[in-house]
């Protein structure tokens, strides 16, 4: 009886699972195609005969080529460093501003909230022409500090917006209790409210980090020289040029370079989803 019920249910949802499977395949196929291309030898990459969905002689040769690229690990380090510094700057400044907007009553708090939202809406690619000039005036054009200084511009509005939403949902009583017990205002905030808001702060940090990892225009426009490149523009310049794209190493680069973001995502899927459903990302 129950088994019959189960099979009937399963048969009824068969079209659903079929459709779901098709949707998953369509959305994930590019990643699979990139991965198996990276595992094929040069000749096989351009040979679609037989079953092209499985590499005939899987090999890590493309990854070796990639890691032997003279500056790959420098680019990786640059990207890690810039993303970490950018995330630290953005999160610290945004925690302060987000807290003020959400929890403190001062003249102009509402206006500040609106301004943050407006700056959040401004597309990040809008101001790179004057920013390049300003960086040049300051003598920063060309090196990594140019990126550490400009990346937070687009992240602070978003993180502040996200965090002010978070702070306004964190209860205020524990902070007040701590102050009754003799803690200073700032001490109460740092020791009581910030730990309670850690999930929101982590969300902001993850988004800042992945956005920095993913950035392209500023890294193309603001840094010079092989030693200062990010992974994005470094990989592009190393393996593409005119019509002679080295697809094997390029796909290996796409796979490896996405790994840190993929790992972060794996560990913090729920943070990503809640951040996204807060309506908090651009695209």
């Amino acid at each position: 009886m129950q088994v019959a019920q189960l099979t009937r249910n399963a048969r009824r949802s068969l079209p659903f699972y079929f459709l779901l499977g098709a949707v998953i395949v369509i959305f994930l196929f590019p990643f699979y195609w990139g991965l198996i291309t990276s595992l094929k030898f040069e000749v096989e990459i351009y040979d679609f005969s037989g079953n092209f969905l499985v590499p005939k002689n899987p090999s890590l040769a493309n990854y070796m080529t990639l890691f032997r690229a003279p500056n790959y690990f420098i680019w990786f380090w640059n990207t890690l460093l810039v993303s970490a510094v950018t995330t630290a700057i953005s999160v610290v400044i945004s925690v302060m501003a987000g807290f003020a907007i959400a929890r403190l009553r001062f003249r102009g708090a509402a206006l500040a909230g609106t301004l943050v939202f407006i700056t959040y809406l401004a597309p990040k690619n809008f101001l790179f022409v004057p920013l390049a000039q300003i960086l040049k005036d300051w003598g920063l054009l060309g090196g990594l500090p140019a990126l550490m200084l400009t990346y937070p511009t687009n992240l602070i509005p978003f993180c502040t917006w996200l965090l002010s939403g978070y702070f306004s949902n964190v209860p205020q009583e524990p902070e007040e209790c701590a102050m009754v017990d003799g803690a200073s205002r700032l001490g109460a905030i740092v020791r009581i409210t910030l730990p309670m808001s850690l999930p929101g702060i982590i969300t902001a940090a993850i988004f800042s980090f992945t956005a920095s990892w993913n950035e392209l225009l500023y890294s193309v426009a603001f840094v010079n020289g092989e030693q200062n490149k990010m992974l994005t523009n470094g990989v592009i310049s190393a393996f593409t040029g005119g019509d002679s794209f080295a697809w094997g190493p390029l796909m290996a680069a796409a796979t490896v370079s996405s790994l840190p973001v993929a790992l972060l995502y794996l560990f913090f899927t729920d943070r990503f989803v809640s951040g996204i459903t807060a309506g908090s990302t651009k695209g």
């Binding site: 939202f117 690619n125 809008f126 700032l186 392209l216 796409a254 996204i276």
Partner: protein
């Protein structure tokens, strides 16, 4: 700023702790760094862009004021008119497809099923993965001679006789760009819409089903109006992002063939970075500004309205 306390404190330590205690002073202190940062890195560059757009500034040369010459020059070039048309086509098509695709995805996922969490996590990957690297994979998929899609369509399935020139033909190039943007965007739209749908009270929907409404009717009559504010905000934010897109045209086509896929950011980049015409490049970004203001104002109004409900 009103940070001066009424009673003069005896020591500077006491003064500082007072500043850090009162809402009014602490508020300004905490918001100060963000305000300063955005003033220097956003407001100042904006003013600077406006200034540059009125000059003949080139790389390595001093700027001199030329009035509206850059804007007049832009209006006379086909590069600029193509940029405007491309951006309109790209943004409109991508947004419509992302909206309907996202609704369809949300409708599909809006039921309990085995592995729901994993499926949702997997489907978000196109959105999460760094655009630069996923777009590299797409440019391999769209390869002029070794495209896997063409191989399947021409050789395996025999559906078409000639391979599709994905990035080599003007119309196909734009279509391919839109396709990749939509591929990235639908998961984000879908998951956001799904969260909105699942926050709609199920009682009303159940009641309408008892009254004989089909799932299709109850979706459009009850669920859709309820999630409309979320749809509008997601659409507006995405419109701004899509209009300012640089990565996709830069990586897939470099704006070609024949400027058929260049968008505002890439045109500004080509003019200012590749050709060194900084004044002209700044003018291109400034021409985006009126449309942006309009979008920002509409966004503000719709967010306000949602907060009031």
């Amino acid at each position: 700023m009103q940070v001066t306390p009424r009673v003069q404190p005896r020591t500077s330590g006491a003064f500082i702790s007072r500043l850090l205690h009162k809402d009014s002073s602490l508020g300004y202190i905490l918001i100060g760094p963000a305000f300063l940062f955005l003033a220097v890195m956003m407001a100042y560059p904006f003013a600077y862009a406006m200034y540059l757009s009125f000059t003949d500034k080139q790389i390595g040369a001093p700027a001199s004021f030329t009035g509206f010459e850059n804007y007049a020059k832009l209006l006379g070039t086909s590069l600029f008119s193509k940029t405007v048309v491309n951006s309109l086509v790209y943004t409109t098509c991508a947004l419509v497809l992302k909206c309907f695709g996202g609704l369809a995805l949300a409708a599909l996922l809006n039921r309990p099923f085995i592995g729901a969490r994993i499926v949702k996590a997997l489907l978000l990957l196109p959105w999460i993965m760094p655009t630069v690297f996923s777009t590299m994979i797409w440019s391999w998929i769209f390869h002029p001679t070794f495209s896997i899609v063409n191989d399947v369509l021409v050789n395996r399935l025999g559906l078409i006789a000639q391979p599709i020139p994905f990035l080599r033909d003007e119309r196909w190039a734009m279509a391919s760009l839109i396709f990749v943007n939509v591929w990235r965007g639908i998961p984000f739209f879908g998951i956001t819409f799904l969260a909105a749908i699942q926050s709609v009270s199920t009682e009303v929907i159940e009641a309408s089903k008892i009254d004989g409404a089909s799932a299709w009717v109850s979706f459009w009559k009850i669920t859709f109006p309820a999630i409309l504010p979320v749809i509008i905000i997601v659409m507006l934010i995405s419109t701004i992002g899509t209009l300012g897109d640089f990565d996709l045209p830069f990586l897939l086509t470099r704006g070609g063939p024949n400027d058929s896929t260049t968008l505002f950011a890439l045109t500004a980049y080509t003019l200012s970075m590749s050709s060194g015409l900084i004044g002209l490049g700044a003018a291109v970004t400034m021409t985006m500004f009126p449309a942006l203001i309009l979008l920002v104002v509409i966004s503000l109004i719709s967010v306000r309205r949602q907060q009031q409900d």
